[in-house]
Symmetry: D2
Subunit: 354 residues, 4 copies
């Protein structure tokens, strides 16, 4: 469903209006004519249009005689919208819940490098009260000369660590080709920022029978993000968690600019849970704590944080990974903030932390 | 003082290097030559350069024979930097302190419309625990057909309300011509986002004998923001408070994108206090609370919030102004967060709030 | 005059609609109700609104019960619009015409450094067929430690060179304080990119009795640019030339991104002449030629190019200045392109070049 | 190969320097120490670093004691760089050459809708002198509710029209899964703007034995664009044509902002041909002509233009498609510009046009 408003120019004739209506209908749309009175003026006619987006796009309305301005008022997502489901949703991943009323801490290495490193990272995460483990086996790297991840060997390590720590695993899938493989090891499939508009991949993960973590494209609007979620939803699952991870701007001091307002906005437009990635947005270790605190305060349903036992030896983004001594006090602070804000933290955190 | 690093290309000859050094010195700079070994390669020569920014800019170094890449490593601000003053500064405005350890709430109408509206807004601010009053008498408006403010009449209203409520006043000055006038009424001079690089104005307010609230340009980097502060500092005062108010990005859902990371970053680079404007960044009433909470959590030294007794009648940005019933619970929440984060709120708040 | 379209939500009641209409009228606006049929649905009511921008801004319409979306359709500039004047305008500066049908080459140093340097630069400009001289006496510099220009001494040099070469002079004015002074020496007043929204300055230059060169703000939209021109026009002159000089984006390879599409767009929306600054947009000497050619091809009414007899000694932006041997072949190429595109170059060029 | 320059702070000790060198070497990198004299100061030590990007990334150098600033100077692409191949390359596609000295016009429908529509569009293209046919069978659409293309049926239509018109076909591939299929029909594989960082797809098309048209990501830097090309090159082919199609900025008047400077810059950094898409960058029919002319003038090796026999009925981006009567005069104008700029147009154009 699409909705356009065409404002005719002051000198538009009745024939001009009829021509626009005819064009709209020729494209299978519906048109209805209205009139705006203009302060001390002769007023303007406008035309409301509904129909198929692709066809409406093709109308040369803005070039038709007598047409002033054309404005679109559309909703291109439905299943993930608040109109479709008024209550905010909770997504369950291997016994862990993400959603309203709770706060979920997800932590782990940016990239899985070895069983030892992943195990140590998981222990750090668990002892800090994290209830889920993150870790990359397939890494999208801007340069072909950068470390690309361990692939299936990395998935095996993650599954093994999950079995020993009880932490459900979320990991990125880069290609339709790998969806089945990754789904056979992971508890949750992650769509990375560079894949947010990889539509065949969105459809494949939507049909894979696993909950999905959808990172916002660093170059995409909130509306495009929700439309990407709609692709996943239409393919078969509404167990989708949105993750704000920063957008690209002119500011060079940070890798990306965390769009903190996107958290309440996405929660306002969609019923899906929204978490924040403070590690990849800032790209700096010293920003992880303040950005994590800001995320809780803005209402995020959780955060996903890079940790590494020895960041100086990390093969990917070590510059932003926290160590145990850095994560623990932050996790405690996030608990305090969560409590002050009247939310509880996901119960499993304490059991696991014991 | 400027610092550049010139990396010569692999095939650069000794003559090429000498030519670059000669060019640097001809422009009054100093050069020193070093060498980088390259893994399994023949290595590269590079040249460090120091001197006057303007002159260094003019060197055609990037086009000289044998030159590979040119990188600048400069500090263009000194007085406002942490190198100049290691401890974070506290700025006092009419008995109110803004700086580390405290949290300052500034509130008031976007524009001064009348004595009654300003008084009511000040009462809302005060009863919520605000310790300073904001209000615009000279309004920079994108359209010449929009309300431009009451001018000196507005300043008189602000001063009168200040005298009756005890709340120091911060108000914007738009032109060098008006600095003396505004300074005669206001306790703190505000440089708005569109004036951040109005250099003559920065110099004039720096010499006006009043503390200055410097909003970040919506189109400016953090480094440019600090250089603008340096203009003010060199003109005579270090009583400068920085205000992050959102930057311009591709995201259309908010008026601007609040760069929450800019708060810890500016505090890391500069000793000046940093506050946040949650009203103008989001441009939406429903975002003021989450963005204010995020500001406290990120470490901001205060927030400046638009309030209006009757937003629906506001002549400027009413869509983002809070009413008393909206500001009070938020102020309480900000107090709670401040306490949890181990900071106290500016003492006067309680006296005034009583 | 403003125009808004309010789309009510599907479940809006007649009372909701009445309440919106009442709110609009309470703010002095006018409202008229229409209805959109929605494919296979129950349809939607919408309300057209007109009135004062500032007041309309203040309506809390988006939060009223039953309101779906709010869209504004406004023209905030009139005098500079094509609706006000259908034919494209020609601006005359000291006998030189800028506008449709011709192509004007403006050249000169970024900053006036000395009589000798300015004279040499003017000779380069003239021999290349330039019909106007550019040169900065008051320089807006991001860093307070950079060269700030010669001030009035620079203006005297420009006026003297103008008298000896016959080239009218365009130079930047930074402050309301200096408008009269600069106007007493220059033939055309330049508003720089950082001053595009310095509204008091726009009003002052508009009343100064000189034609104005209005550079686009590096982070301003085309609409904001035209509203800035409207400020100048309302203050007293329509002798305004718009100058596209690049906008700020995420791309680091160039200082700014030349928005080449802004040339035909601004000419489509406004009757004012539009020229391009290929020197400051790219910030690289090697881009001046291709960007200048692109400007002509896109329909620009002229270009303004930095030239310097000895760029390696320039005190400002030497890295982008062309020398005589670089400008001459480019100017010839621009002439060829102009001819192929069916336009003539400003007649004076040949007389002066003789 | 990577290259970093670490500038130590003024108070760095010899131990600090040794610690940094040790850290670099612990990560398998190589370090060499140099010293910069500072005007009237005690000077600064810096350290040059080379090694593996991923490992260097992980060094916590910026946080080590005594470290001032860290700067990277890297080349993350080699095969596509001018350093690898000094001469600009020419890519051949089904007998048509794209590269220096010539100008190639590619035209066709945004989306293949039917045999009739595609045939008519090809005839328009051919009669205008186009030497290649574009057309989408797999369409990446932001909304799941928009027309997604005809898939293989569309590929069959394109191949059939190619056989009847002699125009080689370029069409987009969206998924690794479809690469073989698309390569079996198309003469050239297109990577769309949303797929520029779909690394598995880049590798797959690089190995498919067809030349590749690589569109720039709408939010990617020129350097990232060249690294994406490097992925393709490493997978097996250097027959890559780069296509600038506009980047995402804050300007709402155009769909994207055509980065015209990217044409000469990409040609300067890489030996690959660079063409421009004036249709998708502006997203407006009225901008296609000025942007196409600007592309030729800036040195582009070709343009790729949307055409449609009946744009008002197009199912995708009809608002920007040209008709025959619009394309022909533009093509003639582009020929004239090409000639004036001393380049010839691809020979086949005339034979086909006959």
């Amino acid at each position: 469903m699409s909705l356009m408003v065409i404002v005719m120019s002051p000198d538009a004739t009745a024939d001009d209006v009829d021509a626009v209506v005819a064009a709209v209908e020729s494209a299978g749309g519906e048109a209805s004519v209205g009139r705006l009175s203009v302060a001390g003026g002769s007023g303007r006619t406008f035309i409301g249009v509904t129909g198929d987006l692709a066809l409406i796009d093709a109308l040369r309305i803005d070039e038709m005689r007598g047409v002033g301005r054309v404005r679109r008022v559309s909703t291109s997502y439905k299943l993930v919208s608040r109109e479709h489901r008024t209550e905010r949703s909770t997504v369950e991943v291997g016994g862990v819940t993400i959603g309203p009323g709770t706060f979920t801490l997800i932590a782990g290495p940016c990239a899985v490098e070895s069983a030892a490193q992943t195990t140590e990272a998981a222990q750090i995460a668990r002892s800090a009260g994290a209830t889920m483990l993150r870790g990359g086996a397939f890494k999208p790297r801007t340069s072909p000369y950068a470390f690309q991840g361990l692939g299936e060997a990395g998935l095996k390590i993650l599954a093994d660590v999950r079995d020993r720590t009880g932490l459900p695993v979320v990991t990125e899938v880069l290609s339709v080709r790998d969806v089945e493989l990754v789904a056979s090891y992971a508890d949750m499939l992650q769509i990375g920022t560079r894949s947010m508009q990889n539509f065949p991949l969105l459809q494949a993960v939507g049909a894979a029978g696993r909950p999905v973590l959808l990172k916002r494209g660093m170059m995409n609007t909130i509306e495009e993000w929700l439309m990407a979620a709609e692709y996943i939803a239409r393919a078969g699952t509404l167990d989708i968690v949105l993750c704000e991870r920063g957008i690209r701007t002119f500011e060079p001091a940070t890798r990306n600019t965390l769009d903190i307002a996107a958290v309440p906005l996405a929660q306002h437009l969609s019923h899906l849970p929204v978490i924040v990635d403070p590690s990849h947005s800032g790209g700096r270790r010293d920003l992880v704590a303040p950005l994590s605190r800001a995320a809780v305060a803005a209402g995020a349903d959780g955060v996903i944080i890079d940790v590494h036992p020895r960041p100086e030896q990390a093969r990917c983004d070590g510059g932003q990974a926290l160590t145990g001594p850095e994560l623990l006090p932050l996790a405690r602070q996030l608990d305090d903030l969560t409590t002050v804000l009247g939310r509880t933290t996901a119960a499993p955190r304490y059991r696991l932390a014991g």
